[in-house]
């Protein structure tokens, strides 16, 4: 565990020494701000429209959480599909290319500790990212009257989603020494996780449809965004993270045998 933390500390410092972290944070917050502004101004227009139509029933159903925070979180989750590969691509691929891998694998450290260290560092970075994006709901709380519980659940969902993405990214980085390949295969894998339930929506129901819905990261994420924290979703995210990290550990270990 001590070794994992040592590695995590060094990795985290590396994020902020290279410009990658700043670029990723800027893009994430800039796009987030753009979506937030758009959704909020649209919400305002719709509100004014219904107010002009003197339709109090509809007005009562209008809801900041549903109209702003929900779509915002969904948009941010798509931004993460693109940004997380950029964060994780270097983790293992770069070490292989520069030769530091040889140091890491001959140091008295278990492969599990290496993987854990790199995951912890990326997780802290993601925490910073999602934490900074919490500025949007805070603005709503200050100037409006949203449901706080639903927003907290949604942000926990975003965090779990991002952590799962990171675990997948670590795995794709561990199978190659080329950062571009690592990033693109991570992006592909994440996008598939994102859309995997689409065939189930067009086809008939049955066990295959249930399976696709279960595998879909979007389905579980949507639940949390609407404010439902279900253990099934938590189990899904945690098992996705653990499976991806386990595969990473196996892949690092197997590199020795080639």
């Amino acid at each position: 565990m001590k070794n994992a933390l040592t590695i995590a500390g060094k990795e985290l410092a590396a994020y902020f020494v290279q410009p990658v972290a700043y670029v990723v944070l800027t893009v994430f917050l800039l796009l987030g701000g753009f979506f937030f502004f758009e959704l909020l101004s649209y919400f305002q227009i719709v509100l004014q429209m219904y107010a002009a139509m003197q339709n109090p029933q509809v007005l009562q159903h209008m809801n900041l959480n549903q109209r702003v925070i929900e779509p915002l979180l969904h948009n941010l989750s798509i931004v993460l599909v693109i940004l997380v590969p950029a964060i994780t691509m270097r983790t293992f691929a770069e070490e292989k290319r520069t030769g530091t891998y040889e140091f890491l694998l001959t140091a008295p450290v278990r492969t599990g500790e290496i993987v854990a260290g790199k995951f912890i560092a990326a997780a802290i970075f993601i925490l910073i990212m999602v934490g900074l994006a919490a500025i949007f709901p805070i603005i709503l709380v200050v100037f409006g009257n949203p449901e706080i519980g639903v927003m907290v659940s949604g942000y926990i969902g975003l965090l779990l989603l991002a952590l799962s993405f990171v675990a997948v990214g670590l795995f794709t980085s561990s199978i190659t020494q080329n950062q571009i390949i690592a990033a693109i295969s991570c992006f592909g894998a994440l996008l598939i996780l994102y859309v995997i339930s689409w065939p189930a929506q067009t086809g008939s129901s049955g066990w295959a449809s249930d399976l696709l819905h279960y595998l879909s990261i979007t389905d579980h994420f949507s639940q949390m965004v609407t404010g439902i924290i279900d253990t099934r979703d938590l189990v899904y995210f945690l098992s996705l993270i653990l499976v991806a990290l386990f595969l990473t550990q196996r892949s690092v270990e197997s590199a020795r045998w080639r």
Binding site: Y101, E102, R256
Partner: protein
């Protein structure tokens, strides 16, 4: 002490190292010689636990590098062919990181760092960024990371490559003073280096040990160059005769 026993390593169909055995005694420097592609780096990677052998074992201070890997790895300082530097770390931060991973206790960390910096002549370079160092300084940082945890066994893969003559002289001197009661294995293809600092030489050619001999046992009058050329040509000759024999056998089988 390092004991290499019947080491064989195959990459797919290509056999890089065949049945290599040798011994490096405590307090001595073993020069590991051989032409390019002879299997030096492969052997060293197996000794340091970077990859396992296809068959055979290595004992580092009596610990099996494969079955008691963590304990054995703790005893080794390893300088790979390319110094394993994190290019965007500063020298001091890098060495601290290495020391911590190699298990230097927190209380001794500062002393270990200062000692390594001083011994490798890096005191003025401590706050430089690794990626901006010249080849010679990279090599020194590489050496510093190998010995920061004061390991009983040092494995150095071509430690003087890319250095200028003065630096080569310094590093050689450094390795010699380091040996003390340590076991040092260094690979090189610079012959005078071996005659200057090593106690024992192992020559490897085509993945086989062609010669294992103490330098003091080499008869006066013969240079190391002669010994080396003879060893690798003998090896080549043997390989050729092997092939001829096989061909003859095949031919005999046919008739």
């Amino acid at each position: 002490m390092i004991e290499v026993k019947n080491l064989t390593k195959a990459y797919g169909n290509f056999v890089a190292v065949r049945d290599v055995s040798f011994k490096a005694e405590r307090g001595s420097i073993l020069g590991f010689l051989g032409p390019n592609g002879a299997g030096k780096t492969t052997t060293m990677r197996i000794i340091t636990g970077f990859m396992p052998a296809t068959s055979g074992t290595v004992l580092v201070d009596g610990l099996d590098i494969f079955t008691q890997s963590l304990e054995a790895r703790r005893k080794i300082g390893y300088l790979p062919e390319n110094p394993p530097l994190y290019v965007d770390m500063r020298v001091e931060a890098y060495l601290r990181f290495v020391a911590r991973l190699r298990g230097v206790p927190r209380a001794r960390l500062d002393d270990a760092l200062e000692h390594a910096l001083e011994v490798c002549g890096l005191t003025d370079m401590r706050s430089r960024i690794c990626g901006q160092l010249s080849k010679g300084y990279r090599q020194r940082v590489g050496l510093a990371q190998a010995l920061i945890h004061d390991p009983p066994v040092l494995v150095l893969d071509e430690p003087t490559i890319g250095l200028d003559p003065r630096q080569i002289h310094e590093i050689r001197g450094l390795i010699k003073t380091l040996s003390g009661d340590r076991t040092v294995v260094l690979s090189t293809h610079i012959l005078p280096e071996v005659s200057q600092i090593c106690d024992k030489v192992v020559i490897i050619a085509d993945g086989r040990v062609a010669l294992e001999e103490k330098l003091s046992d080499i008869p006066a009058g013969t240079t190391l160059e002669q010994v080396f050329l003879e060893a690798i040509s003998k090896e080549r000759h043997e390989t050729v005769t092997d092939t001829e024999e096989t061909l003859e056998e095949v031919g005999a089988g046919r008739s």
